[in-house]
């Protein structure tokens, strides 16, 4: 019995919420825009053209290369935070999320500043930026799984005479395979649909499917070609998700899980050097662009100072409201988005967890593969008349953010629910508990740590969301990334400095949110 006991009536009702939500805010608008675009037929010449092939090729190989590099850069740190107890461990795990939620445009400027001018555009910077952004995915998913590997298996292998390399190859890696595969799939997905990084760091001759869809739809206004390319992108992502889904399934169910406290240990003297090296090297790589940012936020006309932060309280032509209000709006919208994402994501997760691991799990990530600009266009034409004229409703903003955050919740909560020992549920049933009561009193409390982790991650994702937010944000309610974008778009030292100060605030908020989420979980939560 590796899977759950089947969906059941309760599960079917639970699925109603996410199905309605995704159907209304994702499938319906997306289909509407594809219909409009392909009304005059499918542009076969575009689909079969050499240009589409080369786009697909470049998109795929840069995403593959980015994924491999991100794994290579992230696994050592995942080992450190997944194996050892040391002062500052929570902080390291929180800091690593910062790049993930910072707006691309902010990080890209930090990157450009670090690179020599003649090497600041092209494939190298794209790959480096992708590693920078996605290292959090690897460290948190794999590191989280590492921290729950049962020591007993490892010790047994040691007793049986297996050396450290053999133990890693034959015990650790197979047990980690599902987590590594999940992290790789997510990273690949983000790099495949990468937009800002490719636009800003690729130089004008580089294009991926996502940037080309954007240019075709939003600039050239050729909806037919844009629709065709969006389908190519979605199909490509569906294939990738299906393949990794199959791999994960073959990797087997997540084994018995030990509480983290039993697993983490103090480093041995002989290991300290290696740990320090990993922390320093990864730290230096991640800190570079962030330090550039902090320096810029403090670099004022009168020398080093806090002028740019003081300016956050003042009126400015760039925004209708003083910049500090963007902080308040960001927090409010992210909180609402987190609530929606949790409701939708947890309902999906409970339903999925009752089923055998299947391709449905992978399908939960599919919305992340849709082109943001086409979805935005779709929302415009799908909800353009009563009874559904909701195009300029304020709550569309947290809804849009939650569409991006909910897949993470599903991804984090499903494995946690599945790892709940079925015997506990059966015991509850024998003792007369209804299925709903068993869910409430057995499953959810046991998955509680994953839930809190998911909430923190969803909050951070919503906080940093830009692509969807910018199109639904009202001028009087800017979020931090939107405000940063407005300031960056204006000449003058003060505007650039204010943008840097806001970005520093966003980074600090992210660290705080993730740390609080970790505290709420007793600092021993499991996946991500």
């Amino acid at each position: 019995m590796s899977g759950g006991p089947g969906l059941g009536r309760g599960g079917a009702i639970l699925l109603l919420l996410p199905v309605c939500f995704v159907g209304l805010f994702f499938v319906y608008p997306f289909v509407a825009i594809l219909e409009r675009g392909l009304g005059d037929g499918i542009p076969w010449e575009t689909l079969a053209g050499a240009e589409t092939r080369s786009l697909l090729w470049f998109t795929t190989w840069q995403a593959l290369a980015s994924t491999v590099l991100t794994l290579a850069a992230g696994l050592p740190l995942a080992w450190v935070v997944g194996t050892f107890r040391f002062p500052g461990r929570s902080l390291v795990r929180a800091l690593v999320v910062v790049p993930f939620v910072l707006p691309t445009v902010v990080v890209a400027t930090g990157f450009v500043a670090l690179l020599p001018t003649d090497a600041s555009r092209g494939i190298g910077p794209i790959l480096a930026a992708h590693v920078f952004f996605n290292i959090a995915v690897v460290v948190r998913i794999v590191g989280g799984a590492w921290a729950t590997l049962p020591r007993t298996t490892w010790q047994a292998a040691a007793v049986l005479g297996a050396g450290p390399i053999r133990r890693t190859r034959e015990v650790t890696l197979p047990l980690l395979a599902p987590a590594i595969s999940a992290a790789a799939a997510l990273t690949f997905l983000f790099c495949f649909t990468s937009f800002g990084v490719v636009l800003l760091l690729g130089g004008p001759a580089r294009a991926t499917l996502e940037t080309e869809i954007y240019n075709t739809a939003a600039r050239a206004f050729d909806l037919q070609d844009a629709a065709a390319l969006s389908i190519v992108q979605l199909v490509a992502i569906a294939i990738v998700l299906a393949v990794t889904g199959l791999l994960e399934r073959r990797g087997g169910a997540v084994g018995q899980v030990a509480p983290e406290a039993d697993v983490l240990r103090r480093p041995r003297r002989s290991e300290r050097g290696r740990i320090a090296a990993v922390l320093l090297l990864t730290g230096a790589f991640l800190a570079g662009p962030l330090v550039m940012l902090a320096v810029r936020s403090l670099d004022t006309a009168g020398g080093i100072g806090l002028d740019h932060f003081r300016a956050l309280g003042r009126e400015t032509p760039a925004l209708l409201v003083p910049p500090w209000q963007a902080i308040a709006w960001s927090l409010a919208f992210a909180a609402a988005a987190t609530a929606i994402a949790l409701a939708v994501g947890v309902a999906t997760a409970i339903a999925l967890a009752r089923l055998r691991p299947s391709l449905l799990d992978a399908a939960a990530l599919l919305p992340l593969g849709a082109s943001a600009v086409m979805l935005g266009f779709g929302l415009l034409i799908a909800f353009d008349e009563p009874p559904l004229d909701i195009r300029d409703a304020w709550w569309l903003l947290p809804v849009a953010q939650s569409l991006v955050a909910a897949p993470f919740v599903v991804r984090i909560v499903v494995p946690a629910l599945r790892s709940v020992d079925p015997q506990l549920r059966e015991a509850a049933a024998v003792l007369g508990a209804s299925r709903r009561r068993a869910l409430r009193e057995v499953d959810l409390p046991l998955a509680g740590r994953a839930l809190a982790g998911a909430a923190g991650f969803a909050f951070a994702v919503a906080l940093g969301e830009f692509g969807a937010t910018v199109f639904v944000a009202r001028a009087e309610h800017p979020t931090l990334p939107v405000a940063i974008f407005r300031f960056l778009g204006r000449p003058g030292a003060e505007n650039q400095g204010t943008a840097a100060a806001l970005a520093v605030v966003l980074a600090l908020l992210t660290v705080a949110v993730v740390l609080v989420a970790e505290r709420a979980t007793g600092s021993r939560e499991r996946m991500v």
Binding site: L17, L24, V105, T109, V112, A113, T117, L199, L200, G203, P204, A205, N215, A217, A218, R219, F221, A301, G302, D307, P317, L320, A339, L342, A343, V346, F377, L380, I381, D384, E385, P386, P387, L388, D389, I390, D392, A393, W395, V399, R440, E441, L444, P445, L451, V470, F471, R474, A475, E476, R486, L488, G489, R490, P491, G492, A493, E494, Q496, G497
Partner: protein, 352 residues
């Protein structure tokens, strides 16, 4: 964990209630008192000016900013006849024909129309000119002072090997100033001559970025705080004034200067969207955009110039920015007809 279940139900109930409110209310929730302005990311208005409009007209002004001017027009085309707002502001000459052909606007002759400087008046009564800005070359003063050389005097100089590796421009396929600069070269060198000019620019190691921001704040050496190394950039006639106003300290002279030759004029228009929810509010807003109060506000907020004759310009603009006397321009219909072809040709010549 009981709470969590409730939270889920609560959120569901909330979504349902809001959808219902959206359905039932439709325009009613803020319709009565709100006029919605669809515009681009660079739009800005002073708080007191906005308040003045709201007090005088009785309408609340709401802004929907959805990307650059081109994206805003495309979004409006997508919803033509059933628009997201009442007035669209920010259509410039290079987009005007596309917007008009798409039948976006209702005709309206503003009562303030007589005040417009004749240089900007337009025959078509579906749109009203509101401001104009010029896309001009900007140069880094310190760079040329240090080299002991003159900055280039205009377009011709850019192809001169003495200025090799100094210019950064934007991709006309993805950037509005980039397109304006391409149009400037078409206007100057002619429909059969600009190609050769750009081949020479390419040979002179011109750098192309996707957008203004990357070019100006990252590659151009003259902008405050920029790590850039190129002393020439395509920006606006008013950018040097912005460098002074937002320097964070008093400056005698702007670190940059705008070059008079090769400037391309962009007039920005407003129009009442066909199917606007409140036509009265839309008319009041267009009148307001032409009023003395708003017109005097545009240099300080958007770094463009007013079209209303006799509107005072802030001193920083008189001192540090330029107001090109004879900027280059092309008829909107020509732009509409040939833009895509020019961009394709440009891409082949400069990028491939």
């Amino acid at each position: 964990m009981r709470r969590l279940g409730r939270m889920g139900l609560g959120a569901l109930a909330g979504v349902v209630a809001l959808v219902a409110a959206g359905c039932g209310g439709g325009s009613a929730d803020d319709g009565g008192g709100a006029v919605v302005l669809l515009t681009h990311d660079s739009f800005a208005i002073s708080k007191d000016v906005k308040a003045a409009f709201e007090q005088e007209s009785g309408y609340t002004l709401r802004l929907l900013q959805q990307g650059d001017a081109g994206e805003v027009v495309n979004r409006a085309l997508l919803t033509a006849g059933d628009p997201q707002g009442d007035v669209l502001f920010g259509t410039d000459d290079s987009l005007l024909s596309r917007a008009l052909d798409g039948d976006l606007f209702e005709p309206y002759a503003s009562s303030e129309q007589g005040s417009i400087d004749p240089a900007f008046a337009i025959e078509d009564d579906r749109v009203t000119p509101i401001d104009h800005g010029e896309v001009c070359l900007n140069a880094d003063r310190a760079f040329y002072a240090k080299e002991g050389r003159r900055p280039p005097q205009g377009l011709d100089d850019l192809a001169d090997p003495r200025y090799r590796g100094q210019l950064v421009v934007q991709n006309p396929a993805t950037s509005s100033p980039g397109l304006a600069f391409l149009l400037a070269t078409v206007a100057r060198y002619g429909e059969d001559g600009w190609q050769d000019y750009w081949r020479r620019l390419r040979a002179n190691d011109v750098l192309v970025t996707d957008g203004w921001q990357d070019a100006y704040t990252q590659q151009f050496s003259g902008a405050a705080g920029s790590p850039g190394t190129r002393p020439l950039v395509v920006s606006y006639a008013t950018s040097p004034a912005a460098e002074v106003i937002f320097a964070g300290k008093p400056l005698e002279e702007s670190p940059t200067l705008a070059i008079e030759d090769g400037c391309f004029r962009q007039v920005e228009y407003a129009g009442i969207l066909r199917g606007a929810r409140t036509e009265d509010g839309a008319r009041a807003l267009v009148d307001f955009l032409l009023s003395e109060r708003f017109q005097a506000d545009v240099p300080g907020t958007m770094f463009v110039y007013p079209v209303r004759a006799g509107t005072p310009i802030p001193p920083a603009f008189e001192q540090h920015a330029i107001r090109p006397e004879r900027p280059l321009s092309l008829p909107p219909s020509t732009i509409a007809e040939r833009r895509d072809r020019w961009i394709e040709e440009w891409t082949r010549i400069v990028l491939r």
